[in-house]
């Protein structure tokens, strides 16, 4: 029973709860139990409070029992990246400087999730202030990739992706500044969507880089992501950069998955040198799956994408240096060195020196430099010009094609510790995802197979024009349908039923055929 709940999709759970075949409390309890069972190993969550979650579930059950019509995800648990402010519930952003902070307010996205009847099941681990691609920069713990606990689950939203892939939650909330939703999704075989900038409210989301940050849905299936997308998106007057326009019809798109006649552009610059062979192989196979369903595949050049990483690592740290100034020990958070002798300036310096980790310090210092007088034009100014050129590349490409595609990340999940001493190598993880943050368009990562060389998940990135988020879901659904037909289930089903995934304790009676190479040749598997 429990494994069946844990393996079910969010939409199935929502339907069964709505029909009152299951209660929100039963479902929530099942996931809380799973967290107890596996999170000592996975370390996806920073904060779990049974009473808090069960109270929410009971309220939803009462509302449903009273005949209230809630959304399709009412009663479904959700993991919340610890970057979202949750009133009265610890919110650390993965940093020591915020340890113990209880926000007096909820992020807009949190209010929407609660109003839709979702049940928050815990605050998920993340790189400190969302800075990183491995979740190793969390001040509190290193999260394992459920596919191989010695590898990274991606970052910064590694807690969210790991929670999904280890069946500790059917849905999660993430934020994506340079790939923090999509790259973790790619390396854990989950679905992650960065909506169009301004599509979801940033109010109450602890800012890394304001002009790039965007909250979005994380899920195990395309339809689940679309359902969550619909819950969290939409105009918010509290966020001045929020778009006052209808939310694209993402759920319809996810249900249809019709790609007939869709023109898909493969970005020439996002491939080749530096990309793992298995990543490129699975990416090409996915293109064939889409082609088989009627999509037209063409190659497109976006010549300025190669400068995106450099421009990103100037713009983002500049905004970081300003956004993180407020962590100054005066109004909330850590205070170090207040001995009555030290001045306010000393206390600010000591607190920030003790409270921030290396990556945060690196970015603040780079940003302080890039904005300083005499260097502004060469660094921040030039980077913003490159940003314009990248946006123009997208504009030009979208006159030729409906969506652009690439691998989500150049490699599969690397080993923990492998890139921590080499910031530049770490930054390369976001090579493919950064352009959409720069231009603000919608973008997503969908599972497209396991790389033959290491058996680890590969992500397929789809990029759509501003406010055409629905196209992501059309492509994602087509891909999911085509690939799962050939695999005989999702990649996570395979993990759940494999020996490697035995520790997850979610094997079901219905066996999933093992994935062999080539993927077409699969046979039934003994339990």
């Amino acid at each position: 029973m429990s494994a069946e709940i844990l393996r079910a999709t969010a939409s199935e759970l929502g339907e069964r709860i709505a029909r009152r075949e299951l209660t929100a409390v039963e479902v929530t309890t099942a996931f809380l139990d799973q967290i107890e069972r596996v999170d000592d190993d996975v370390k996806a969550f920073l904060h779990v409070d049974r009473a808090w979650s069960l109270d929410q579930a009971r309220v939803v059950d009462a509302r449903l029992d009273a005949g209230e019509k809630l959304g399709p995800l009412a009663g479904v648990p959700i993991a919340v990246k610890d970057i979202f402010c949750t009133q009265g519930v610890p919110t650390t952003c993965g940093s020591k400087i915020l340890e113990g902070w209880l926000p007096p307010y909820n992020a807009t996205v949190i209010d929407r999730v609660r109003n839709a009847g979702l049940v928050m099941i815990g605050k998920a681990n993340m790189d400190e202030f969302a800075m990183g691609s491995s979740t190793e920069n969390s001040a509190f713990q290193v999260t394992g990739n459920p596919w191989d606990l010695e590898r990274i689950p991606g970052g910064s939203g590694g807690g969210s992706s790991a929670a999904l892939a280890s069946f500790q939650a059917p849905l999660a909330l993430g934020t994506d500044t340079g790939g923090s939703i999509r790259q973790p999704a790619a390396v854990t075989a989950t679905v992650g969507v960065k909506p169009t900038y301004g599509g979801t409210s940033r109010y109450g989301v602890i800012a890394m880089a304001s002009s790039l940050d965007q909250p979005g849905p994380c899920a195990r299936t395309v339809l689940d992501a679309a359902l969550l997308h619909e819950v969290i998106c939409g105009h918010d007057p509290m966020d001045s950069t929020s778009i006052d326009a209808p939310v694209p019809a993402v759920v319809d798109a996810a249900r249809s998955g019709d790609v007939r006649g869709l023109r898909i552009g493969v970005v020439k610059e996002l491939g080749g040198n530096g990309y793992a062979p298995g990543v490129e192989q699975r990416f090409r196979e996915a293109l064939d799956v889409l082609k088989a369903q009627g999509a037209e595949i063409v190659e497109v050049s976006c010549p300025h994408f190669k400068y995106a990483l450099g421009a990103y690592y100037l713009i983002m740290p500049s905004e970081v240096s300003s956004n993180l100034a407020r962590f100054d020990a005066m109004r909330y958070g850590l205070r170090v060195g207040d001995d009555g002798v030290n001045t306010v300036e000393d206390v600010m310096r000591l607190t920030r020196g003790a409270g921030f980790g290396d990556e945060v310090k690196r970015r603040i210092i780079i940003g302080t430099y890039a904005l300083s007088s005499g260097y502004y034009d060469a660094y921040y100014g030039s980077a913003q010009k490159v940003r314009r050129l990248i946006a123009e590349d997208f504009d030009a490409a979208f006159t030729q094609v409906d969506v652009l595609v690439s691998p989500s990340t150049p490699t599969t999940a690397f080993k923990q510790g492998e890139r921590t001493a080499d910031p530049l190598a770490m930054y390369m993880s976001d090579l493919c995802t950064i352009p959409s943050n720069m231009a603000g368009n919608a973008s997503a990562s969908f599972p497209c197979g396991l790389a033959p060389e290491d058996g680890l998940p590969v992500g397929f990135q789809v990029m759509a024009p501003v406010l055409a988020d629905d196209r992501l879901y059309r492509v994602g659904a087509a891909l999911e349908r085509g690939l799962e037909a050939s695999w005989g289930g999702s990649l996570l089903d395979h993990l759940a039923d494999s020996d490697a995934g035995a520790y997850l304790g979610v094997r079901t009676d219905v066996a999933t055929p093992p994935l062999a190479e080539p993927v077409e040749a699969s046979d039934a598997r003994e339990i």
């Binding site: 950069t241 450099g310 030290n342 430099y369």
Partner: protein, 98 residues
């Protein structure tokens, strides 16, 4: 444009970050490498390219001048590291006028 340890120490002071000698020795070379890697950005765009500061070209987003409930002083001060007389207590301020 290389970033020397002296530069890094100065920037850290400007950013109010205390760096130990060890941290400075570790971070300064990394920062220099990072900066070197991103420096090519300044060569890409010509003078005619308009910098892009916002992802979307929105303008004139305003809020009506309406008063909404505030936090209570107790809520505002609840997370303060130190408070006194309903105010946030902060360490002494030097070398600046109020």
């Amino acid at each position: 444009m290389a970033l020397s340890p002296t530069d890094v120490a100065r920037l850290a002071r400007l950013a109010r970050i205390e760096l130990s000698d060890d941290e400075l020795a570790r971070l300064a070379p990394q920062l220099d490498v990072i900066l070197d890697a991103v420096a090519e950005v300044s060569q890409v765009a010509g003078p005619d390219v308009v910098p892009m500061t916002h992802a979307l070209p929105l303008t004139n987003v305003f809020r009506p001048d309406v008063v909404k409930p505030s936090l209570t002083p107790a809520q505002a001060l609840a997370m303060a590291p130190a408070e006194e007389d309903g105010r946030f207590r902060v360490p002494r301020i030097m070398d600046e006028e109020a």
